[in-house]
Amino acid sequence: MTAAVKSTGVFWAVVRRDIKLAWSQGGTGTMALSFFLIAVSLFPFGVGPEPQMLARIAAGVIWVVALLACLLSLDRLFQADFEDGSLDDLALSPIGMMGIAAAKTLAHWISTVLPLVVMAPLLAMLMQLPNEGYLFLVVSLLIGTPALSLFGAIGAALTVSVRRGGVLMSLLVLPLYIPTLIFGVGAVDAVILSADPTPHLALLGAVTLVGIVVSPFATAAALRLSLE
């Protein structure tokens, strides 16, 4: 019994540690958030400030940029721990590599992606998103973005020992993001085009659940490989 309590303690300790690191100086939290802000506000310069045009693309732009911001922060997910050797120690902890992978992925979502979701309505306002879209933009991001962290963790783990692996990681991870992007934007578009968004949200949730099943397993396998 004490052992089980101890291992959940270890799990949350890793989560807390990673969240703290992400928001310490030079962490990825602020970086991803500022990228999200700046990249979205570039779009009006690119396509012109006509409200109708912006309203039409708002949901898609916010989803795509959130996805890129998440990707940007992922390549350091395991790399720092791998380089300074703490990954070897973490691997020996009572929760095992799979627990470490799950804890670090959860920490990434809470520290880096959740702030993007909170920021999204503000950017939606800049992008002239129609009023009925706001609620479902946030809901779709909440349901869908965990999949971004989960599938991203697999790519980050596979490329952890590759020097300058960021580009390679995006090549591996971006195709995996397509379903989340499609269903996420689909839900918001459905509300705007007076259709029903719940089926879109259901599929979005299904993708995230598949990520929960696949990701810790594959991530742990890839991390063990890099420590061999």
Binding site: A3, A4, G96, S194, A195, H200, A202, L203, G205
Partner: protein, 155 residues
């Protein structure tokens, strides 16, 4: 030693049950999403009339182009046709280039808004070929499509 073994077994149980629960959840969500008939971004004529959509509200209208309804106006650029789901019809007006595969009796999705008279003013028209590859002359005409509306609406 035995304690460590027990906790490892317990962990494995937690991992396994989480995975099974997540998979079952995913399957249920997919079944829910595909079970309803509202899984689309376009509305068919009967649901447009049902929902009493206001003039000026943008939406996508999808259905079959009714046989014999296609007309070209004098300016040579504006087209009029009727989109039907065999239960209701909506007249559509479109100015621009129609896709090559636009034909009467074939499927079409248009984007735009209703005007005050109930005509759908489309600014985009999409058509797609029907995925049947058959030599010339062996293809039956499309009359069946409207006799079996449930088949015609098989989106």
């Amino acid at each position: 030693m035995s304690k460590g073994l027990k906790s490892r077994k317990k962990q494995r149980l937690i991992v396994l049950s989480t995975a099974v629960a997540a998979l079952v959840g995913a399957v249920l969500l997919v079944l829910f999403a595909l079970g309803g008939d509202s899984l689309s971004l376009f509305l068919q004529p009967s649901s447009v009339l049902e929902k009493k959509i206001q003039a000026g509200q943008r939406f996508r209208l999808g259905g079959l182009v009714q046989d014999g309804s296609f007309k070209k106006l004098e300016d040579g650029l504006t087209y009029k046709f009727v989109v039907t789901d065999c239960a209701a019809d909506i007249p559509v007006q479109f100015k621009g280039l129609l896709p090559d595969l636009f034909r009467e009796g074939q499927g079409v999705v248009t984007e735009g808004a209703l005007d005050a008279t109930g005509t759908f003013m489309a600014d985009t028209v999409l058509a797609k070929h029907d995925e049947n590859y058959t030599p010339k002359g062996t293809m039956p005409k499309n009359v069946e499509a409207c006799e079996h509306p449930e088949k015609a609406a098989g989106y």
